[in-house]
């Protein structure tokens, strides 16, 4: 079979294949509301008892999965229009709201917990084994999750925080201006095609429309933070040569994670300068070339990120225990 014959065979493939069984009942069981009750009843006349038992089990399981436990930590938070006394259940679609004197703790399925601080409004959007999703309309939450990456998501008006196995604080106003501070693991904040990776001990500022800015370490010098904010959010979020030069002049080895993001966001004509500064502060790992990094080849960027992240992790975790060289990640004598 030659290339043309293969292509013709591909073109003949059906665009649509009916599933071998009706998948709707399983879908319906996972949706928030129950519809089509009449058809369900008609079907019940004919299903054997064993199937009924299975269905009951599934319905019970659904009830478990589609709601999370909530505990009032202070005051009396609202779930919908109901005041929460001590504890309750947050179901898919429910809003939890705290006032200036109330706080609550949400159990995120079986993988973690979210503390809802005062003046916060949060909704449970998806509660399944494969996806745990909240919407944070405004306010502040502290999330702690122990799970494989990409199981827990928090939507804000400006984008989505994607858990990569971590603990973090996320705050936002109702327009989407906010801040993400990661205290364990790593979080990705995504707005459309723009995303920032924020490891422990780092922050990222978030703005409506633009989304996440360039992450920076929590002890970054204030002038560097101002330069990053100017780059990320002034001139419509398109940065500029002047802001870039400021950042390069102010960056230290500890700020390599900022430069790694910057490399991918500056005008192509400035990438070489950013790479050179990054390479001077934290030399690239073997196999990462200037050409590949400046061309934004994903393998080169991933390789570089792995090294930066490893050094950063050691620097943060061993802070106060060992004196870590921020250029290499090795302990200084």
């Amino acid at each position: 079979m030659n290339e043309r014959e293969l292509q013709e065979a591909v073109n003949r493939l059906p665009k649509s294949i009916e599933p071998p069984r009706d998948l709707w009942p399983g879908i319906e069981a996972r949706l928030g509301a129950g519809g089509g009750a009449g058809s369900w009843r008609r079907r019940w006349y004919w299903v054997p008892l064993a199937a009924a038992a299975v269905l009951v089990f599934l319905l019970l399981a659904r009830g478990e999965r589609s709601a999370w436990d909530v505990t009032a930590l202070a005051g009396r938070p609202l779930i919908g229009t109901t005041r929460l006394a001590a504890s309750g259940r947050l179901r898919v679609g429910d809003w939890l709201q705290t006032d200036d004197s109330s706080r609550a703790l949400i159990a995120v399925g079986r993988i973690g917990q979210v503390e809802v601080r005062p003046e916060t409004r949060v909704q449970l959007v998806v509660a399944s084994a494969n996806e745990h999703r909240l919407a944070l309309a405004r306010g502040t939450i502290d999330a702690k999750v122990d799970a494989v990456p990409r199981l827990f998501f928090v939507e804000t008006p400006a984008g989505t925080a994607i858990d990569l196995g971590c603990a973090y604080t996320l705050e936002t106003d109702s327009l989407g201006k906010g801040l993400l501070h990661v205290t364990r693991g790593e979080v990705e904040f995504q707005t459309g095609r723009r995303s920032s990776r924020v490891p422990l001990g780092a922050l990222v500022q978030i703005r409506p429309v633009t989304g996440p800015g360039t992450p920076y370490v929590d002890d970054a010098p204030a002038p560097l933070v101002r330069a990053l904010v100017a780059f990320d959010f002034e001139r419509g979020g398109r940065g500029g040569a002047r802001a870039t030069r400021n950042i390069l002049a102010l960056a230290r080895s500890q700020d390599a994670l900022s430069l790694w993001h910057l490399l991918q966001r500056v005008d192509p004509s400035l990438r070489g300068a950013v790479y050179d500064r990054l390479a001077a502060l934290v030399p690239p790992p073997p196999g990462v070339t200037r050409r590949a990094a400046v061309a934004l080849e994903s393998r080169a960027l991933e390789g570089y990120w792995t090294k930066i992240q490893r050094i950063h992790f050691r620097t943060v975790v061993l802070r106060g225990v060992k004196n870590i060289d921020p250029r290499t990640g090795l302990a200084k004598p």
Binding site: M1, R12, L13, P19, I27, R30, G36, V126, P149, S298
Partner: protein
Amino acid sequence: MPDDLVARAQAGDQTAFRELYRQHAGRVYALCLRLTGDARDAEERTQDVFVRLWDKLRSFRGESAFSSWLHRLAVNVVLNERRTTGRRERRVTPVENPAALERQQGNPTEGVSIDLERAIAELPDGAREVFVLYDIEGYAHGEIAELVGIAEGTSKAQLFRARHLLREKLER
């Protein structure tokens, strides 16, 4: 009218949503089956897609055709699931008794299609995903690179590999 259905489903009408499922399940299932290479996974992913659709439906603003939007959502659900669970060690021929495929009654190329479906399912994961997205679904390499999280050059290399393996399999 499909637009009415979408609007009604957006307003929370589950009967309309069920009708949307009826209209689009075959297309979504075909995509899931080919991307996963596994019939059981395809069923689960199809259900995941429609549950996700129910949650996301409000964000559909009609800037593209609903079917295109749903298609993109389905691709994302399948690829996200793979990223979450990692590469499956278990590889199963997608349809041991391909009843689903045999529903295409009266199609003179049915035999070739079934052979090709089997061959696609037996491809390595990376090659299969790129082949399905590029050759069957019509995505560009740049889009695939973004969706799958690989370099554009890797996408091209995987496509070359997939086509080569398929030709080999189909000639046996």
